[in-house]
């Protein structure tokens, strides 16, 4: 019998490969006769394309072709779709503006795809790209969110550059509450634009097989089946049977690699036109310019309270940036993945939100780690902190007073979602204990003696993971279901392939899913091999994002395993000459109840493939597939507390302590989960104090187009995180798991900003809270004293 692996911090199976340079990424894959594509990108933010002169480029050495949007349009390839329809306040669908792989008419952001050059070598393709001459009629760029609705119209379909004006809740109801409230706390917030910056830039190779009339696309995708679906169903009309998408090892995605992008779409088209494999590997500069960006909201939030600090109602007004085009799920992020979280951990009875999504001449914006939920948690946990300040209440007390309590679950929020389970006091208690909250005043005094301003801040966040119940998201406008498939295929010798429609790109799926299946069947984890990322191997899938892989994908694997066991019992009953109802299965052993007669899963698997003496009428083989559609989202929640010290003479901030107490339900591999928390915290801390995607407001040029100017957090910017857990297992999936991938970056921004405002004794500071901002505040405070 094996030791149980679930719950153990196993080292990651994939790390031997990934850490020794044996990973196989898209750019490692070489195809015979391959060619190189380089994109001609727009140097301006906004302009009508008057002419594109290909001649000099075509004459350049090694150039095989130069193509524009008009060339692709001649093949009647359509627009890259936005798969989520948001219905506006008037009942109209959002403005579904076209997004062609190569823009045929107009450049809409710096980095927009105007033409592509294919050549024998990469350098030749770059040389060629420099020779393509494009004339523009330049238009005034629309850069800032604040000015978007007054600026030059970017798409014919979208007057005032408005994609939608959406609301959730009743304005009349909220207005009535605000009229009689004892106190209203109002806060204006910026949720700063982020550039995801995965370690591996996006890349693609497309190969056309004229014999089979079919395509293979290697892509750095988090979501290969969905990519195939979109390319087939929306863009090209090529049958899905004729497109194979392979997402091999992928070096980080963070949501940015969910989508169908212009580059891979163009490569697919080129592979047939050139009739040779076409490769494109983006460089870091291209990543900055043309990967989807994230967040970018302007928000006003108002919180109404009674005299005790009980929340009566909350009102949110947000302008959200879509960028120049709609990325695949862009519309859903500032609506259904944002406003549905506004209850937070609290029993706020009435919530009204109004979100205007606007187009600007900037890179498209879509989901990025957390995707709407960091924005929601930030505004809730900031306004609650400010409310405590204004009401003269302790920030802990105001939260506890309004928490949804354990006996309230399942809890129907006023914003669609129903929370299944949680215990917010438990996480808060544990976090307070770990940080020694009561000892803070002494630590503050000690820091003061050293000339430092010390502050403490906390956030009690909740998120919705495990996207998602198909019927529920269908009502919200989703164009696809969000089930997942799992397949367990035993081999004759008792080892097993596990196939999943999720995709690992850093999450450790090979290990986590291996632990689950090894435990389920009592076989060594080495005997479990995960297959993912290939549409021709995995039955179907919806990919990895929204912390769904374990909760949804893992549950599908468990369901497939249950089918394997069910069939195995029939085979075992035959082998043991017992009846099926008397067969028990535990730890890899099928045994007859009340006897010591048993057969192993290995013996059963062998019999399934060598069915010489076999139950009558039973199919041979031991290979089962299950599709799992979750009954609800999962709701990870927790409390993070951090302490900071600010040097008032320079504004330099040091995070001196960080406690993260999260409730992820069942934890399969605590080491992997802790890694997820650390990574998420790094990203959230990056947003709070360092990262900022900045376009020049006049020219629309991306100012933060490299790591010289875009401030990525580094290891030495971060403290040693202290991680704790509470656990209320998810009530509706077989694993009890909730998902852990995004918690860190959701909890971190409000936690850190709350600590900073505490240190400086101010009401608010916008992200990123950079050294100069902190210095100015500290200087002005000292001057005022």
């Amino acid at each position: 019998m094996n030791d149980m692996l679930v719950g153990k911090p196993l080292k990651r199976k994939e790390d031997q490969r990934l850490l020794t340079g044996k990973g196989r990424y898209v750019d490692d894959i070489r195809r015979p006769g391959e060619t190189y594509a380089v994109f001609v990108r727009s140097p301006i933010a906004h302009g009508i394309i008057k002419s594109i002169d290909k001649e000099a480029a075509l004459a350049a050495p090694g150039v095989l072709g130069v193509f524009t949007g008009k060339d692709i349009q001649r093949d009647e390839w359509g627009s890259i779709p936005c798969g989520w329809v948001v219905t506006d306040r008037q009942g109209e669908p959002h403005k579904a503006v076209p997004h062609y792989a190569l823009t045929p008419d107009r450049a809409r952001y710096v980095g927009d795809h105007l033409a592509v050059v294919v050549a024998e070598t990469y350098e030749q393709a770059r040389d060629g790209a420099e020779l393509v001459e494009i004339e523009f009629e330049e238009l005034e760029p629309v850069v800032t969110l604040a000015m978007a609705m007054e600026g030059e119209q970017i798409h014919d379909l979208a007057p005032q550059n408005l994609c939608y004006d959406w609301e959730l809740g009743s304005r009349a109801e909220i207005d009535a509450i605000f009229e009689t409230a004892h106190h209203v706390t109002s806060l204006d917030l910026v949720n700063n634009r982020l550039v995801p910056n995965a370690m591996e830039p996006r890349a693609a190779i497309a190969e056309y097989d004229s014999g089979l009339d079919s395509y293979t696309l290697w892509s750095t995708s988090q979501n290969p089946h969905m990519l195939r679906w979109m390319l087939s169903g929306s863009v090209t009309g090529i049958p899905e049977t004729k497109i194979r998408v392979i997402a091999p090892d992928v070096g980080g995605g963070f949501g940015m690699k969910i989508y169908c992008y212009p580059e891979e779409t163009t490569c697919l088209w080129l592979s047939k036109v050139i009739d040779r494999p076409v490769r494109w590997t983006g460089d870091r500069s291209e990543s900055f310019l043309a990967d989807t960006h994230a967040r970018d909201h302007l928000t006003t939030v108002d919180l109404a309270m009674d005299k005790d600090g009980t929340f009566l109602g909350m009102k949110i007004d947000t302008t959200a940036n879509m960028g120049a085009y709609l990325s695949n799920y862009a519309t859903s992020i500032p609506t259904y993945f944002y406003a549905t979280l506004f209850a937070g951990c609290y029993k706020t009875p009435v919530i009204y939100s109004n979100v205007r999504a606007v187009f600007t001449n900037t890179s498209p914006v879509d989901a990025y780690r957390g995707a709407g939920r960091p924005e929601a948690a930030y505004l809730i946990e900031r306004v609650v902190d400010v409310a405590a300040r204004e009401m003269g209440m302790d920030p802990i007390d105001i939260r506890r007073r309004n928490f949804i309590k354990p006996e309230d679950f399942p809890y129907q929020t006023p914003v669609i979602l129903t929370y299944d389970i949680g215990d917010y006091d438990a996480s808060l208690d544990e976090a307070l204990r770990m940080i020694d909250y009561d000892g803070f005043p002494a630590r503050r005094e000690e820091a003061k003696a050293r000339g430092k301003l010390r502050g403490i801040g906390l956030a009690c966040y909740i998120e919705a993971c495990g996207v998602a119940p198909s019927q529920l998201i269908g009502k919200m406008g989703a164009g696809a279901g969000l089930w997942e498939s799992g397949q367990i295929r035993f081999n004759a010798t008792g080892t097993a392939f596990v196939l999943t429609g999720t995709h690992g790109h850093g999450q450790g799926h090979e290990t986590t899913f291996g632990q689950i299946v090894a435990d389920m069947f009592g076989i060594p984890i080495e005997d479990v091999e995960l297959i993912h990322g290939d549409t021709s191997q995995v039955p179907m899938g919806m990919g990895t994002y929204g912390s769904r892989s374990l909760a949804v994908g893992g549950s599908a694997i468990v369901r497939a395993g249950e089918k394997v066991i069910e069939k195995g019992r029939k085979i075992a009953a035959h082998m043991l000459e017992a009846s099926v109802i008397d067969i028990e299965f535990e730890q890899g052993l099928f045994s007859v109840t009340g006897t010591n007669k048993s057969v192993t899963i290995k013996e059963v698997a062998e019999r399934a493939y060598v069915p010489l003496d076999y139950p009558e009428g039973l199919e041979p083989g031991l290979d089962e597939t299950a599709f799992y559609d979750p009954g609800n989202f999962t709701y990870p929640a927790g409390t993070h507390i951090c302490e900071v010290e600010i040097d008032p003479r320079t504004g330099v901030l040091e995070i001196v302590d960080w406690v993260a107490v999260d409730d992820f339900g069942t934890v399969i591999n605590p080491m992997i989960v802790e890694g997820q928390i650390h990574g998420g915290l790094a990203q959230g801390i990056g947003q709070a104090i360092m990262e900022n995607g900045v376009y020049d407001p006049e020219s629309g040029q991306l100012i933060t187009g490299s790591f010289m100017d875009y401030c990525m957090p580094r290891a030495d910017d971060l403290p040693s995180f202290r991680v704790g857990y509470t656990c209320t297992p998810c009530t509706h999936n077989p694993l009890g798991a909730k998902g852990a991938g995004e918690a860190g970056c959701i909890a971190a921004p409000p936690t850190l900003i709350n600590a900073i405002v505490n240190a400086l004794d101010i009401r608010h500071i916008d992200m990123p809270a950079t050294g100069e901002k902190l210095w100015r505040i500290a200087r002005d405070k000292i001057a005022a004293q």
Binding site: E123, R126, D127, E130, S285, R649, T650, G651, M690, N692, V694, I703, T704, F707, M708, D709, Y710, C711, M712, D717, T770, G771, E772, W775, R776, R779
Partner: protein, 267 residues
Amino acid sequence: MYSFEYHNPASQKEAEELLASTDNPSLLAGGQTLLPALKHRLAEPSDLIDLKGIDGLSGIREENGAIVIGAATTHCEVSESELVAKRIPALAKLAGGIGDQQVRHRGTIGGSVANNDPAADYPAGCVGLGATIRTNRREMGADNFFVDLFETALGEDEMILAVSFPIPDQAAYIKFPNPASRYALVGVMLSKTGGDVRVAITGAGSSGVFRDSHIETALSKDFSVDAIDGSGVDEAEISADIHASAEYRKHLIGEMARRAVEAASGS
């Protein structure tokens, strides 16, 4: 990158001949600035003249009360040199804080000085320590060598052979790093030799490295932290960008100078 001819001369003479005979040559030392520029197609030299094969360009020695560092000496070698640590510890510290491990193992003092990046550390090191730049043509004081952003007094066929640093009584280099690039947002090299005080600032000048005479005068009279009442430079001459306003940089000059005095006094 664009195509270029690569040369690997074995002697200074051969390198000089190539410098004179090629169209648009570029000297290649550690390549830590040049190679990224080439890869980004921001530079298009016809010929790259690699200096690595030339004997005698690298090495650190003491010579008439000065530390002389060969142009091809890497930052790592300077930072780990016992001689530098003993004679001018501030210079060892400066070299050890340039870029990262990889950069320090490739990048050279000659390359850094010739490039004159306005946020690089060595220009402040040279000016703040009153160094002399030795080339194949002449010797130049650092005050006259650094002309403007990425511009030096070097002629077209001129190459740096060594940099000579007089040994000060006291010195310190304090860098306030740009949180994104980790280049100096403000870097202050301060030295005191007899009654002579030098305070050189990198990262902040809109025309590159400069001396802050206001602070120098104050410290000449009273070499103490309290003598510094801030930078005397006009804000108009201080650079401003998304990372820091001129006002913040100017403030940091004073603050870093104070820390430099503290560090120099402690050594």
